[in-house]
Amino acid sequence: MDKKKKKNYPLFKARMYIQACWTLITNSYASGFINGTIYQGNVKSICVPGLNCYSCPGAWGACPMGSLQNAFAGRVSGFPFYVVGTLITIGALCGRIVCGFLCPFGWIQDLFFKIPPKKKVRRLPGEKYLRKLRYVVLVVMCIILPLFAKGDIGVGSPWFCKWICPSGTMIGGLPLIALNENLRSVLGWLFTWKMFVLVVILVGSVLMFRPFCRYLCPLGAIYGLMNPVSLVRIKVSKSRCTSCGACQRACGLDIPVYKEPNSDDCIRCGKCITVCPHSALKMDASLRGRRKRRSAAREEA
């Protein structure tokens, strides 16, 4: 096992801690939790990378998906450069590493996945097609409907936030409603619906790895599209890989990573890298070409 690969391991082994720390740090506005309000300072003009509701009482930043829908819904005139630019920059740098390490709702699903039973569902019938649903959610609920279904005053709504987003219900809705009596007094059927969606997703997360991320999340869809071209990618050493499939068996998303190291489904959790018995996989952030790397290796030797 070479040194470079070994260096990668502590990062993956500490993934849960990194997720926890990131979630706590980016949602640590204590006054919001004490008073049942949200942070209103200038830092909130910056989008965080993950699906982190800006209506969480502790949130310091803005949710990129909510911001994107609101831009299309008419809050921004013309093309929403700022939010799209943020998504492209984050995606080009690290792709779905955000999903593996920096998303509160990804972490919540991982915690629920730890609950027994130990035997989990690996795939659903029609899995291949179900995984494309997140692109439908992205295009229809986050772009087309906010853009074209406008109300009387010419402003649309964030359809994904309103009808689906479990992150909004869990880290925004539940704490605010628990802490704020005014909000509690106006609860209605929409809240019941959103709670139903949340419960289905959380129960699903006990039975299967990351059901929301694999089937529904539009933010994961955007970052997944950039997995093949992001700066940080998984590389497979053809000389070491024996196609034993240990990586695929260890992968919660059942990805044949030795064949498709940059699949749009991969959340970059690194599990496959840590289990490969031949050290054939590694996470790499190099921009150098293969030829240059080989000559560098020769020079080192």
């Binding site: 909510g66 943020t86 309103k162």
Partner: protein, 46 residues
Amino acid sequence: MRKRSIYTLVLLAVGLAFIVIGAVKGEANAVLQKAIMICMECIGLG
């Protein structure tokens, strides 16, 4: 440098340029204005 790395750099440049254009257009403020109000849709009230 491989073709793929060039795509990465182009994407990064486009992303950063978009952020600057958006900020100059005042879009960061539009994000802020939405983010500092409790979002009724997000929490399931409206």
